[in-house]
């Protein structure tokens, strides 16, 4: 399994086929509980909150793709992130990238702070800022790269070497790139988290979250939390993610190809001011990205010159759906100010550049000419 190339592993998954029947598609074990062979005996499966064969298959497949030893599947990306935070205890401090998904920010500020955790938000595209924020009680870095929505790139290797000198855990949210383009554990990170809802599942029809890591002790803790809190991915949704993963490489290839064309087109448009796409050579993180990832993904943010255009664009797009979320086969356009990043205070938003002129685009697998036609009409 491990020596196969990436696309082959996405198709065949960790176990391959159902060992009992040969079914090519892994079975959906839609069972809450499992019959015990006898008193004090177990088949290895007792109750689906603790373990379920279909969930195990999706979790171990994602772990395999991320080059990690242990994988865990959760009912949403936020369930995965909140489980990771259970590795810490009151009084612990985390240094977090400031350009962050609004849901993560809300979790940190409104829930975890109440549990005694402390957070400092830094521009992680500059490692010195991350270093300066480390305190005596700092336990971890939590970074998104590329970040959402401003597409800032963190140098993962540099962050890891900084973390190691201070005995910190490095956690990377790899949602935007997926293991097809970027494998943080290979670069030295300790934990990878995912919103599996996005590119991993890829069809805008399932919510899911993942944690992948190598350390056995931390894995045991995550297993305990997952079992105790119970935010597990259901068997059917696990199976849908397994199904989605099979086309991960193809979807991303096509989405990225489309995104490059869309980014270049936007750059030339007279109503567009800035285009944030890591695949553009003039993007600040382009070179670092080239060094640590094998592609640039399909997420683009851009600003228009006049804020009055925004409602028009969002009303005029037809092919591109005006909706939250990203990573699916359908192109989606999002207005971060009121949607994904509404939970972030205005002063932080302003500092980051998340203003009333910013739009975020998740490029799908439609024909690129149709996407451009749609954007052209909406922008004119």
């Amino acid at each position: 399994m491990k020596n196969l190339r990436f696309t082959s592993r996405t198709v065949h998954g960790e176990k391959g086929y159902d060992p009992h029947t040969g079914a090519i598609s892994f079975p959906i074990y839609q069972s809450a509980t499992f019959r015990h062979p006898g008193l004090g005996e177990s088949t290895g499966y007792d109750y689906t909150r603790s373990e379920n064969p279909t969930r195990e298959q999706v979790a171990s497949t994602v772990a395999n793709l991320e080059s990690g030893n242990f994988g865990f599947a959760f009912s949403s990306g936020m369930a995965a992130i909140s489980t990771v935070l259970e590795l810490f205890k009151p009084g612990d401090h985390l240094v977090v990238s400031d350009d962050l998904y609004g849901g993560s920010y809300r979790l940190f500020e409104e829930i975890s702070r109440g549990h005694g955790l402390d957070f400092t938000y830094v521009d992680s595209s500059n490692i010195d800022h991350a270093a300066a924020a480390v305190r005596d009680n700092t336990r971890a870095f939590f970074m998104e790269t590329p970040s959402n929505p401003m597409m800032k790139v963190t140098d993962i290797r540099a962050l890891v070497s900084l973390a190691r000198t201070r005995q910190l855990i490095t956690i990377i949210d790899n949602t935007f790139f997926t293991p097809y383009l970027q494998r943080p554990l290979e670069l030295g990170a300790d934990i990878v988290v995912h919103s599996g809802t996005k590119f991993l599942s890829g069809h805008n029809d399932t919510l899911a979250g993942f944690i992948v890591l190598n350390d056995e002790e931390m894995a045991e803790r995550i297993r305990l939390v997952q079992k105790s809190v119970g935010a597990v991915l259901s068997p059917f949704d696990s199976w849908l993610v397994i199904r989605g993963l099979k086309t991960l490489a193809l979807r991303l290839d096509k989405q990225q190809q489309n995104a490059i064309a869309v980014a270049r087109w936007l750059q030339k448009h007279h109503r567009v001011k800035n285009v944030y796409y890591v695949g553009l050579p003039d993007h600040a993180g382009h070179d670092i990205c080239k060094n640590q990832a094998s592609g640039y993904g399909a997420m683009i943010s851009f600003t228009v010159k006049d804020a009055a255009l925004i409602p028009r664009i969002l009303n005029q797009v037809e092919l591109i759906a005006f909706a939250e979320s990203l990573g699916g086969v359908e192109s989606l356009i999002t207005y971060p100010l009121t949607q994904t990043h509404a939970a972030i205070p205005e002063d932080i938003r302003r500092r980051l550049g998340i203003d009333d002129k910013l739009l975020r685009l998740s490029v799908g697998i439609e024909d690129v000419d149709d996407i451009l036609t749609d954007l052209d009409r909406a922008l004119s």
Binding site: G16, Y17, H203, K246, T247, L250, R251, D253
Partner: protein, 394 residues
Amino acid sequence: MQFASRLIHNGNEIDKTTGALSIPIYQASTFQQNDVTQPQEYDYSRSGNPTRQALENTIAILEGGHRGFAFASGMAATSSVLSTFAAGDHLLVCEDVYGGTYRVITTLFQRFNLEASFVNASDHENIRHNIKPNTKAIFLESPSNPLLKIIDLRAAAAVVQEYGLSVIVDNTFMSPYFQRPLELGADIVIHSATKFIGGHSDVVGGLVVAKDPEWSKRIYAAQNCFGAILGPQDSWLLLRGLKTLKVRLDFQQKSAHRLAHWLLAQTEVEEVFYPGLICHPGFEIHRQQADGPGAVLSFKTRDQATALAFLNSVKLAAVAVSLGGVETIISYPRTMSHAAMPETQRHHLGISDNLIRVSVGLEDCGDLINDFAQALNNKLKPLSSLDKVYNYRL
């Protein structure tokens, strides 16, 4: 709008009520009627179900037809179409037809006095020669299964239409992405949607598209009376599969092309059948009626022992029936897809005991070639029985 976009945006992808980007799965058998004097769009799921209808509308758009119909399997689709004919009617069927179609025609429908002649349909004079006063339709498959023979669909349609016959085409191997038979003169298109349309080896389903309102009426009557309909859950999975049809097929076709050329160069391989090869006798006709050669190929090894050793030794590819999925599937037509066909007929068609069919999946093509190379050269494996072929474990 281009094909790639139409797969994703065709008016059936967004729930009108909530805006959900994934159409709801209406797992309901019946529908509350608000006013008994006013018929509603849906009353009972056999007659119509919103999820199934989204799929039916989508396939109709992709094939360029009047109306689509979804069935519980490809054979349920074929049987429902055949059931629209009457006792005493005669059908022409291409002799390379899928084994399951051959079986239902020669066993079940024969009992109801539906006559059929199996003909070499790549020769139009031969078609003309076999038309009888009671002939009503011709049933074609191109490329054929498993030898990828090509029928000139335009020419065949033109000949039978002189006699007022209908043209039915099983388009399973191509999907509407590569071939749209209605544009070539067919009246009805049939799919085993289990294959490329579903594409993930996880749904059994069939689809039919009718060209005009009259055929739609006849097929709807069969669908509603027999009730071999596709369930809401499976309809939804096919809709999900369709979204990646183009990207899957582009990748699979590219690998199939590479694999076909690689196989040609192997000393253990006697012959390769793939309409993307210039040496394929149907290459030119196929190029004129389809947009690509697809992702299924077959080949003959130098002898049966090599074929069986190969089937016993492949590791990455699965040895299984079916095709069109993301996983590479290898089958042995002699005992699998064409087991239902009499030996003499198999022999006549060239389905020999050294023939292997390959449906190329989404694995890295280099991995597949490595796997094929070790399997073709593995003579050491014992060939105790065919049962071992099924004991596959990655």
